[in-house]
C-alpha cells in the first residue's frame, strides 16, 4: 500500500503553484503556470483572420491550440522538435477543454490561436498547459463564462492522490493517472483522460478530489490575473 507519498506530500496536497499573467508582450494574452517542477507558458493571438480561407466558418470562430514540449524539457533524452502524435492529441483535447468556456459565435470567420510551450516537465504538463492557456485567454480579453483549472489525480497502489509527479507515475505498482479539467465556478468537467484502472467509487472520489484541487488552483489563477489588472 502506498501510504506515504514519495515527496512527503499529503494525499490531497498540490505541489507549489506559481502563476503569472502577461509574460509575452507581443501576444494578445499570455500566462505562465508552474506546478512543482512542471512549467507551462501560453500565449493567445486573436481572434484574427483565419487562413486557409476555406476553414473559415461564418457561424463561429475556430479555437486552435498547439501544445509543444521544448526539446530540453524532458528529464531524459532530448525531445525531438516538431509535432508528434502525442502533441497532436494533447493539442486536440486542450481545445476541447477550453472551448466550452468561450463564446466562439462572437467571432465568426476568425481563429483564436493558443500556443502552449512546456519549459520543464515533471508530469501534469497538459493540465499545466490548460491552466496557463485559460489565464492567457482571459488576459486576451475574450468573453469567457469561467476560467478552466486542471489537475492530474490518480490512484497509486490503492491510495487516491492528487497532482502526481513523474516519480509517482512511474511507481512500481498499480497506478491510475487521470487528467481532469474543470470549470471551477460550475464544477463541470471539460477534459477527462485516464491511463490505468479504477472502479466507479474510486472515480467518483477522484472527481471530488479534482474539484477541490481545482478550486485551489483557481484561486492562484484569479490572483495572478488580478495582479496584472489592479
Amino acid at each position: 500500500m502506498y501510504n506515504k507519498r514519495l515527496d512527503g506530500r499529503k494525499a490531497d496536497e498540490l505541489r507549489t503553484i506559481k502563476a503569472r499573467v502577461g509574460i509575452v508582450k507581443r501576444a494578445d494574452g499570455s500566462a505562465m503556470f508552474q506546478i512543482g517542477k512542471t512549467i507551462a507558458l501560453a500565449a493567445v493571438y486573436g481572434p484574427r483572420q483565419l487562413h486557409p480561407k476555406f476553414l473559415q466558418n461564418p457561424k463561429m470562430g475556430l479555437l486552435r491550440c498547439n501544445y509543444n514540449m521544448m526539446s530540453f524539457s524532458g528529464s531524459g533524452e532530448r525531445v525531438r522538435p516538431g509535432t508528434s502524435r502525442r502533441s497532436k492529441e494533447i493539442s486536440y483535447v486542450t481545445e476541447g477543454a477550453l472551448a466550452p468556456v468561450l463564446d466562439l459565435e462572437e467571432y465568426p470567420n476568425t481563429v483564436v490561436d493558443v500556443f502552449i510551450e512546456i519549459l520543464q516537465s515533471d508530469s501534469g504538463t497538459r493540465c499545466a498547459g490548460i491552466c496557463a492557456a485559460s489565464m492567457a485567454l482571459a488576459d486576451a480579453g475574450l468573453k469567457m463564462k469561467d476560467l478552466v483549472s486542471a489537475v492530474a489525480v490518480g490512484r497509486i497502489d490503492g491510495k487516491l492522490v492528487v497532482d502526481l509527479t513523474k516519480e509517482e507515475e512511474d511507481y512500481d505498482g498499480e497506478v491510475a493517472d487521470i487528467a481532469i479539467a474543470i470549470t471551477p465556478r460550475t464544477g463541470e468537467i471539460t477534459l477527462l483522460q485516464m491511463d490505468g484502472f479504477a472502479n466507479k467509487e474510486e472515480l467518483a472520489k477522484s472527481f471530488e478530489n479534482a474539484k477541490e484541487a481545482c478550486k485551489k488552483i483557481w484561486e492562484v489563477q484569479k490572483k495572478a490575473l488580478k495582479e496584472k489588472y489592479t
Partner: protein
C-alpha cells in the same frame, strides 16, 4: 520578419511607424530615445532556468525581447574526418507563441539562418568549445552538445539575444553521466563536469537604415532596415563570423564601419557573460 497583411489596419499602422522611424533616423534619433550606437539598457542573463530537465539553460532579455536556450547531450560516433572530436547541433525555433508573425511548422528560413549563422557558426568556427574534450573514445564515441534556442517574445534583435542565450546555456551546462557498460546516458545522475570553453564569441547585429548604422534594432527599425550584418567577435577583438542579410548592398567602407561598431559593442556585452 513577416509584414502585416496587406491593406489591414496592421499594415497601415506599420507604414505610419516606418515613416516616423525614417524621419527620426535622419536626425540620428530613435523611437525609444536611444542613440544609434546604444543597446537597450535592460539586458539580463539568467542561468539554469530549467534546472530539473535541461542539462544547461539560460534566459536572455534585451528590453522586451526574450529568448531561452537549453542544452541536452547525446553520444555519437565521431565524424570520420574528425575522429577525436565531438560536435554541436544547434536549433532555433521562432515560436508562434512569441509573435503574431511566426507560424507553426518546420523552421522557416529565418530560423534556419539564425541557427546556422549565429549559433552554430559562432560557436564552431570560433573554436569556442574545446571539441577534443568532447571525445569519449577515439573513432567510436564522442559527445554531441544539442543546443536549442526558443524565442519567447520578439521585440526586435532576436539574433543577438539568441547568440547570447546559446552561449550562456553552454556555459551553464553540465555533462550527464555516461554509463560505459550499458552504453547509455544516465540522466538520473546529474554531473558536475562543465563544458570546456576556450573563447566567448559575442554576436552583434548592426543594421543600416538609409545612410545610418545602428545596433540592437527594435522591431519597427528591423522593418525599415536596408541591410543587416551580424558580426561575431572574440575577446581579442578578432572577428570569427560574419553574416549579411537584406537585399541592399554595402560598400566596403560601410562594412568596416559596421564591423568596428560590432567590435566595440561586443566588448560591452562580453562583460555581462562573466
Amino acid at each position: 520578419m513577416g509584414s502585416p497583411e496587406k491593406g489591414t489596419k496592421g499594415e497601415i499602422h506599420m507604414n505610419i511607424i516606418k515613416k516616423h522611424v525614417y524621419s527620426l533616423i535622419e536626425k540620428e534619433e530613435r523611437l525609444d530615445g536611444r542613440k544609434l550606437e546604444e543597446f537597450r539598457k535592460d539586458i539580463s542573463i539568467e542561468y539554469d532556468i530549467s534546472p530539473n530537465s535541461a542539462e544547461g539553460s539560460a534566459r536572455v532579455k534585451i528590453g522586451e525581447t526574450e529568448v531561452i536556450a537549453g542544452i541536452k547531450f547525446d553520444v555519437i560516433k565521431p565524424y570520420p574526418d574528425d575522429p577525436d572530436k565531438g560536435t554541436i547541433i544547434a536549433g532555433v525555433e521562432l515560436l508562434p507563441l512569441s509573435s503574431p508573425d511566426f507560424e507553426n511548422g518546420p523552421p522557416n528560413i529565418k530560423a534556419v539562418e539564425l541557427a546556422r549563422a549565429v549559433v552554430d557558426r559562432g560557436l564552431r568556427e570560433s573554436q569556442a568549445i574545446d571539441f577534443k574534450s568532447l571525445c569519449i573514445k577515439k573513432e567510436e564515441k564522442a559527445w554531441a552538445i544539442l543546443i536549442d534556442v526558443y524565442s519567447i517574445n520578439d521585440a526586435g534583435n532576436l539574433a543577438d539575444a539568441i547568440g547570447l542565450a546559446a552561449l550562456a546555456a553552454v556555459k551553464d551546462a553540465k555533462f550527464p553521466k555516461y554509463d560505459e557498460k550499458k552504453e547509455k546516458i544516465d540522466y538520473e545522475k546529474k554531473g558536475t563536469k562543465k563544458i570546456s570553453i576556450k573563447e566567448i564569441p559575442i554576436p552583434i547585429t548592426v543594421i543600416k537604415i538609409k545612410d545610418k548604422i545602428l545596433v540592437d534594432p527594435l522591431l519597427e527599425e528591423e522593418e525599415c532596415a536596408d541591410a543587416r550584418l551580424t558580426v561575431t567577435t572574440l575577446e581579442s577583438g578578432r572577428v570569427c563570423a560574419l553574416q549579411k542579410g537584406g537585399n541592399v548592398s554595402l560598400t566596403p567602407e560601410e562594412t568596416i564601419k559596421m564591423i568596428d561598431l560590432a567590435i566595440k559593442k561586443g566588448k560591452e556585452l562580453r562583460k555581462l557573460l562573466k
